[in-house]
């Protein structure tokens, strides 16, 4: 499967996807960390994808999303934004509202953190 196909599969098949530099246990960029921390504060289940193993991953992702920077956060298949937006939405409480609306009111109960490696 091509990177594009794998990326689409993760975006469509996961509640919350974080495309980041590094992994949640070994974050390689301050902005990826800002997005991860905001998602954690909101109690979001996170499926993380490290874009660093191959430059092609980032290129394919940007072609799909039209978003030029990393990190990128998707909720139920839709781009929510990068670190600035996710932080802003978390602080205003809108992130929690979005998560409740799209994942159900008890979304925090199923909170998990998984990492998906593309190949």
């Amino acid at each position: 499967m091509s990177y594009s196909e794998q990326i689409r599969e993760v975006i469509d098949g996961s509640d919350v996807v974080l495309f980041m530099k590094g992994t949640p246990s070994f974050v390689m960029c301050g902005n990826s960390d800002r997005a991860l921390q905001a998602l954690r504060r909101a109690g979001a289940p996170v499926t993380a994808v490290d874009i660093l193993p191959d430059p092609q991953i980032r290129q394919s992702l940007t072609e799909i999303s039209g978003w030029p920077t990393i990190p990128q956060v998707f909720v139920k298949g839709e781009l929510v934004g990068g670190a600035d937006i996710v932080e802003e939405l978390e602080q205003s409480g809108e992130l929690a509202t979005t998560l409740r609306d799209r994942l159900g009111h008890d979304y925090e109960a199923s909170r998990t953190e998984t990492t998906v490696a593309l190949s």
Partner: protein, 77 residues
């Protein structure tokens, strides 16, 4: 890349901006924070607002002169 050049690009994209701020966060000419408040952003989602800023700065973003960009936008009525 100077903050002035970024400001010029943003002024061209947001001629009606009531607030336009560009800060070189490290002094190195590659880590910037921009603030844009404009009526043309009104009614758009944050994703769409930030997309407008990315479009305005697509050149320095594409050629790598902007290493990191923090964005804060607001749409006014």
């Amino acid at each position: 890349m100077s903050a002035d050049r970024l400001t010029a690009l943003l002024e061209r994209a947001f001629p009606d901006a009531t607030e336009l701020q560009v800060v070189d966060r490290t002094g190195g000419g590659d880590h910037f924070q921009v603030v844009v408040t404009s009526a043309s952003l009104h009614g758009l989602s944050l994703v769409e607002q930030h997309r407008r800023v990315y479009e305005a700065l697509s050149e320095p973003l594409a050629d790598g002169t902007i290493h990191e960009l923090r964005i804060k936008t607001k749409g006014t009525t």
